[in-house]
Amino acid sequence: MMNILSVSAANLSSFAPAIVWGCLAITVISAMIYSVHDKLKALNNRHHYISWNGDEVSVTTWNNGHNGVSPDGVPFYDTSAEGNDPSETHGHNGTATAA
């Protein structure tokens, strides 16, 4: 029968057994860590020992940055620019871009 891969392992590295066992150990350890992490996350979801909010809040602006909302949620307006027409920024041309 023809082999699907012709290889020669005559000059196999002397570290080969250690490398194979090492790779297996890494996989098993990472599986255990993942399993424990998963269980801890499930436990935390039930009892809420630790809570955090990973949302990054950044400044939202429009009118080329003249008007906007600060990270604290406070709106600010450029009072020096007279006659800013809001319709310019909320104009509707019949085309939408959805994410």
């Binding site: 082999n3 020669s8 392992a9 080969a16 019949g94 939408a96 959805a98």
Partner: protein, 263 residues
């Protein structure tokens, strides 16, 4: 001045355009062929008495919907999300398209059903891990591997696929994920050579990385090529080739580490 009736038509077109754009983007990301997406879009647009003109690109869906008398139109560009291939989603979304035509579903009904379909939970990752391992071990048997080699392939595949799942979760680049997974699976499957286990160690080594072969992108690329959708075909083919090259590099890296010569 905009007439109320015109406003209503415009809103209707807007709703349909947004829905169909998202529908097409989800189908593409889930692994549907371009011709399938086109058929489904045209079927639904026809049911809602609209003319659809669209372009399906590898990164975006551009769609223009026209009212029946071609007086009003609405255009939408929807970015295709990054998503794992999911044939269940493809099947159910195609059913939704047929059901829309047969049962005369409204846009709102179709949207509700699509939300339910996309909200379905995927198969448990541990079950997938076991099934992929079993499938690859079966490949080993098909290529003439003995039971010991099958067991080696099973362990190597489960380890490689586990690392692939975790690295993908960590948002690693898909080429690096393929390379690392292939290297790990190849090193583990070479245990037949290293410890003298089994009669067919070369079969175990060769079949241990088959779980990484991008079969669906390749078959979709061929389907798109046959139907003349060359841009999508080329894009899918390039992505599949990148994965194939990465897994080959991973295999070669394992050979290099263990000093196994191939010819």
């Amino acid at each position: 001045m905009v007439q109320p009736q015109q406003h209503s038509i415009h809103e209707h077109l807007k709703e349909a355009s947004s829905f169909i754009g998202n529908y097409a983007a989800i189908l593409y990301a889930s692994g549907a062929t371009t011709i399938r997406i086109e058929k489904n879009i045209l079927r639904m647009a026809g049911e809602w008495r609209m003319h659809a003109e669209f372009s399906i690109l590898p990164t975006d869906i551009i769609i223009s919907l026209w009212s029946e008398n071609k007086e009003h139109s609405y255009s939408t560009i929807v970015r295709i999300p990054e998503g794992a291939i999911n044939y269940r989603t493809v099947t159910y979304l195609s059913c939704l398209s047929r059901r829309t035509a047969q049962k005369h579903l409204s846009i709102d009904d179709a949207r509700c059903i699509m939300q339910r379909i996309t909200g379905f939970k995927r198969l448990d990752s541990r079950a997938v891990l076991f099934l992929v391992g079993a499938a690859n071990a079966s490949f080993c048997r098909l290529f003439g591997g003995d039971p010991v080699s099958m067991a080696i392939v099973f362990v190597a595949t489960v380890s490689g696929f586990f690392i692939k799942q975790r690295l993908t979760e960590k948002k690693w680049d898909y080429r690096m994920v393929s390379l690392v997974s292939a290297c790990l699976a190849a090193i583990l499957s070479s245990s037949g050579f290293v410890f003298g286990w089994g009669e067919t160690p070369e079969t175990a080594l060769a079949t241990s990385v088959l779980f990484l072969v991008p079969g669906i992108p390749f078959s979709n690329a061929v389907s798109d090529l046959i139907h003349g959708r060359y841009i999508c075909s080329l894009s899918r083919f390039c992505q599949a080739m990148m994965i194939t090259v990465s897994l080959s590099l991973g295999l070669c890296l394992a050979f290099l580490i263990l000093n196994i010569k191939f010819y």
